[in-house]
């Protein structure tokens, strides 16, 4: 029987950490699931600081967390795991991430066509209504035969 991993944040977190080495390296956590879409959380870490005098996270960290959330939102919208590729991604940095606070990110695939997924996302510290960054991105669907989950699927079969 297929386990209902999509309903369990801890199980999704295991998949994120297993399937995405860079997320394991950063310490990305799955804070919550909203309609099956993960809300990602990145604990503040001195190694990820972009301005040493203030402790503000580097924009690249925000980009990475948002890109990850976008990709996962596409996978959820597809209701299957397949290879997807980011075509483009635009981020508005609305304010600096508050030092020593975790950063959250959430994305929604608001339109899915056969080949292209359109996504919007945001990142925030403790208040989703006071975002750190806003993002729109497009992804190509089925961009490769090699899915990050292919090995897992084969093993389960």
């Amino acid at each position: 029987m297929k386990p209902k991993v999509e309903l369990d944040p801890a199980a999704i977190q295991q998949i994120v950490r297993h399937a995405i080495p860079h997320c394991r390296e950063l310490g990305v956590e799955v804070a919550d699931l909203v309609d099956g879409r993960p809300v990602l959380r990145l604990p503040w870490d001195e190694r990820l600081v972009g301005h040493p005098d203030t402790g503000v996270l580097h924009g690249g960290v925000v980009t990475t967390l948002i890109d990850t959330a976008c990709g996962m939102a596409v996978q959820v919208a597809l209701m299957r795991t397949t290879a997807i590729a980011t075509l483009d991604l635009r981020i508005d940095y609305l304010r600096p991430s508050t030092p020593r606070q975790p950063l959250h990110a959430e994305a929604l695939c608001y339109k899915l066509t056969r080949h292209i997924a359109f996504v919007r996302a945001k990142a925030w510290n403790d208040d989703p209504d006071d975002p750190v960054a806003n993002c729109v991105a497009t992804f190509m669907v089925d961009s490769s035969d090699k899915s990050p989950f292919a090995r897992k699927r084969k093993a389960a079969a």
């Binding site: 995405i20 580097h58 990050p148 292919a150």
Partner: protein, 143 residues
């Protein structure tokens, strides 16, 4: 020393690596920088740590975005357009090819320098500069 003093000191001594060391996240990425007459070339190493898709395998798209942003910032500082770390307003990345987990380089050029805002174009490539893996346009608030 403040960031401004460290930037000034690194520029005075022509020490590109000293500039990269100012930002903890650049050490985390393993970013290095080479000075050229057209501005700096920034590099990230290959390896599993920066991988987003181990099956392809490919660099994490966010890491490529981070390299492009870092390169734009280093360009603005090194070419003395900015005396402190410029604040990013927004970033648009176009991903052109899957980035293999190998050494990846990036270079920036300023397309418009205003009093308050700089428009910067950045490209990233792997072995062949004529086959870029990604482009970015970024806006920065100069401080």
């Amino acid at each position: 020393m403040t960031v401004e003093q460290r930037i000034a000191a690194a520029r005075e001594s022509g020490d590109a690596s000293g500039l990269v060391d100012i930002v903890p996240y650049y050490r985390f990425l393993g970013l290095t920088m080479k000075a050229t007459p057209d501005g700096p070339i920034c590099l990230i190493p290959g390896g599993e740590k920066l991988v987003g898709n181990p099956m392809l395998p490919a660099l994490h798209g966010g890491v490529i975005g981070a390299l492009l942003e870092a390169t734009a910032i280093m360009h603005l500082i090194w070419t003395r357009e900015s005396g402190s770390l410029p604040k990013i307003i927004n970033l648009t990345v176009e991903y052109l090819r899957s980035g293999r987990p190998v050494e990846t380089a990036a270079a920036a050029s300023v397309t418009k320098l205003g009093r308050r805002v700089a428009n910067v174009r950045v490209e990233a490539w792997q072995d062949d500069r004529t086959k870029p893996v990604a482009y970015a346009n970024a806006l920065f608030l100069l401080t």
